[in-house]
């Protein structure tokens, strides 16, 4: 099911840009920090097929979050190319990247990043407002997303009134509400206890299986990644050090 990716070389069995959900081609992201050049992502070439469940693993500073940000269109590569459903994000304008984030990508953060003064319902509705979805349609879309994460009873609650797990589920509902094709999650279980983290991972698996959504998660929890992901990409110093199915 999953494709392999190789570091610094042509990936084996690489899907074409038309069929891959995400494909990177010699992707580079360097930062200048004072006089030091930080090679956060360094010549990464990989391809992810639709409906795959990929875990990006690595130690802190390995470049996994930077790679995820590049996939999300939140950051731009220094060189190379990154395609989402065949469209090169590196060549997109700022507005086009915003549309990409709005329509193609759903994103979940470690810190949940729910807006504290909004209720759960309003937080989940926010991407619909940004995507200019008609008001008449919003209500049903919000309920559908909230039901999927089993939070229907908490619609009117503010984030501060929700547990960590509930907040992450709310963030997941917010990421799903625009019906994206790719779901990116940056350490989604990092702020949660083990049991709650498993709940979130189960939800992600369910979404992957029922909706056929491509999921890429960044995590440093290898055992959990092995349990849930179809493919594990290890990163170190901005490069892919290994790529393959969990053992």
């Amino acid at each position: 099911m999953e494709m392999t990716a190789a570091n610094n070389g042509a990936p084996a069995n690489t899907p074409t840009s038309d069929t891959a959900a995400i494909r990177t081609d010699h992707l580079v992201r360097h930062y200048q920090m004072g006089s030091t050049l930080v090679r956060a992502v360094d010549d990464v070439t990989l391809s992810i097929v639709p409906a795959d469940f990929v875990a990006l693993l690595g130690s802190s500073g390995s470049g996994k979050s930077t790679l995820l940000n590049l996939m999300a269109g939140l950051d731009r590569p220094s060189s190379g190319a990154i395609f989402a459903h065949g469209r090169n994000l590196a060549e997109m304008s700022s507005d086009e990247l915003a549309k990409h984030r709005s329509h193609t990508i759903g994103i979940v953060f470690q810190a949940f990043n729910l807006l504290p003064r909004m209720t759960l319902e309003e937080n989940v509705e926010l991407p619909l407002r940004l995507a200019e979805v008609e008001r008449s349609e919003r209500d049903s879309r919000v309920r559908e997303a909230v039901e999927r994460v089993h939070l229907s009873a908490r619609l009117s609650h503010r984030p501060s009134e929700l547990s960590g797990g509930e907040q992450q589920r709310a963030a997941l509902a917010r990421a799903l509400v625009n019906r994206p094709t790719i779901l990116l999650a940056d350490e989604p279980t990092g702020n949660l206890d083990s049991a709650t983290g498993d709940e979130i991972m189960l939800l992600l698996r369910e979404i992957n299986e029922t909706l056929g959504m491509t999921i890429v998660i960044v995590t440093h929890e290898r055992p959990r990644a092995e349990r849930f992901a179809h493919r594990m990409i290890m990163m170190g110093d901005g490069k892919i050090t290994s790529d393959g199915a969990p053992a």
Partner: protein
């Protein structure tokens, strides 16, 4: 993002830091209030001047003279494409013809003649002037003692204070008393007694007397209309003055004309509905073959002076608003710092730079709008307070009340629009800065 959603989010953000945003809005309000208060004074004073000048009859009047007159009041005649107008006598026919012109309110002659009045057995030489009923609205009689003429045909007189002081050491005691007016009446002669030219007629000068009751004493010298009854010391209703048929200076000229029995006027004052119609009436009168003169040019100069005055007041008033705009910049820049992460989240969820920019502009505009409304209200209240204070001051000095400050609707709309515009201008830098925020860095911000 749709405008409604944008406004909703902006309102939510403004409510979030309520005290700070309220204080910023209050700052704008004070700025707008200062602007409105300044301008309301300028406009109020302009209205007052315009009103007084309009009432004075200087700016809605056209003075008509026969072309045969010597030069004087008339402006240089513009060369007209048609044949030059034929000079005509300014007589009763001409008066009716001018009265029939559109936008003409009234046409009255200048009747002023030297005379002698008798009071308490003593003679006093003076000059009598006829006053049209419309002069009552002119403001010149606002502060008079006694009252205006009870009717246009009443045998009543208003004395100018200098004359009243001549008649009595206690001028106020003259009210209600009678004086005798001695004057020379122009009496037409039969047609065959014109002195050699059969059929032309003529007139004789006969001394007459008329009793008048003193109804008022006026401090100033009323000057309703250019060259009109100003300079008269004894004012009587114009209609009464006309029926007296008192001999005037132009009577000698009438005597030399072919029809001396037919009376002509030295000049006629034409009152027009308003200043905008003066030019058309002036042109029509000239076309009829008369000289015409108005003070329109003076009105234009006055308007220019007040425009400059308003501009200066507006500049001073705007200073406070400009200071307030720094408050908006400060508030929004602070908001960017506080909401850095939120901006990152919005961008991650699909907000374009444009959406973030519009959101900050909407917040700036909302503060500008609320500040504008608040400022206009405060400015209006300041204007009312100024008017109240002025009223109290004038009343204590037994002077009629006037409105010194005025806040017309256009000023309300302009002040609010200006407030929003200044707020939007103040929002340019913060909005651009927020829109340019790198979402990755913003999301990392704690």
């Amino acid at each position: 993002m749709k405008t409604r959603d944008l406004m909703d989010l902006a309102a939510r953000n403004l409510r979030e830091a309520l005290l700070r945003n309220f204080l910023t809005t209050l700052g704008i309000g004070v700025g707008v209030a200062s602007l409105v208060a300044m301008l309301s004074l300028g406009v109020g004073l302009q209205n007052l001047a315009n009103d007084r000048l309009a009432k004075s009859g200087l700016f809605d009047a056209v003075i008509v003279t026969p072309l045969t007159n010597f030069g004087g009041f008339e402006r240089p005649q513009q060369p007209s494409p048609g044949p030059p107008p034929v000079a005509r006598p300014l007589d009763e026919d001409a008066r009716h013809q001018i009265e029939a012109l559109p936008n003409v309110v009234e046409v009255y002659p200048e009747i002023r003649f030297p005379t002698e009045i008798r009071f308490a057995g003593n003679p006093y030489p003076t000059i009598v002037a006829g006053v049209p009923p419309s002069a009552r609205e002119g403001g010149s009689f606002d502060d008079m003692k006694g009252s205006f003429f009870s009717s246009p045909s009443a045998n009543e007189a208003i004395l100018q204070i200098e004359l009243a002081r001549q008649l009595s050491s206690q001028p106020d005691a003259l009210l209600g008393q009678e004086i005798v007016l001695r004057y020379a009446e122009r009496e037409p002669l039969p047609a065959d007694s014109g002195g050699g030219n059969p059929g032309t007629g003529g007139f004789s000068i006969v001394p007459r007397e008329e009793k008048l009751r003193i109804v008022g004493i006026v401090e100033t010298e009323p000057a309703a209309g250019v060259g009109s009854f100003g300079r008269g010391r004894l004012l009587i209703p114009l209609q009464v003055a006309e029926t007296l048929r008192a001999a005037q200076t132009n009577d000698l000229r009438d005597l030399l004309r072919d029809t001396p029995a037919k009376r002509t006027y030295d000049n006629l004052t034409v009152r027009v509905k308003g200043a905008p119609q003066v030019k058309a009436v002036e042109d029509a009168v000239k076309q009829m073959g008369f000289g015409a003169f108005s003070l329109l040019d003076a009105t234009r100069n006055l308007a220019l002076v007040f425009t400059v005055f308003d501009l200066l007041l507006g500049i001073f008033g705007s200073l406070a608003l400009i200071v307030a705009s720094l408050g908006i910049i400060n508030t929004l820049v602070m908001a960017i710092l506080e909401r850095r992460r939120e901006i990152g989240v919005l961008k991650a969820l699909g907000a374009a730079d444009r959406d973030v920019r519009r959101l900050f502009f909407a917040e700036a505009a909302a503060m500008g709008l609320l500040g504008g409304l608040l400022g206009v209200t405060i400015g209006w209240l300041i204007g009312r307070a100024i008017n109240f204070g002025t009223d109290v001051y004038l009343t204590r000095r037994q002077l009629p009340s006037i409105a010194v400050a005025a806040v017309p609707w256009w000023m309300v709309a302009a002040a609010i629009a200006f407030s929003v515009a200044v707020s939007l201008a103040a929002g340019i830098y913060p909005a651009s800065r927020a829109a340019r925020l790198n979402p990755v860095e913003a999301l990392r911000y704690e």
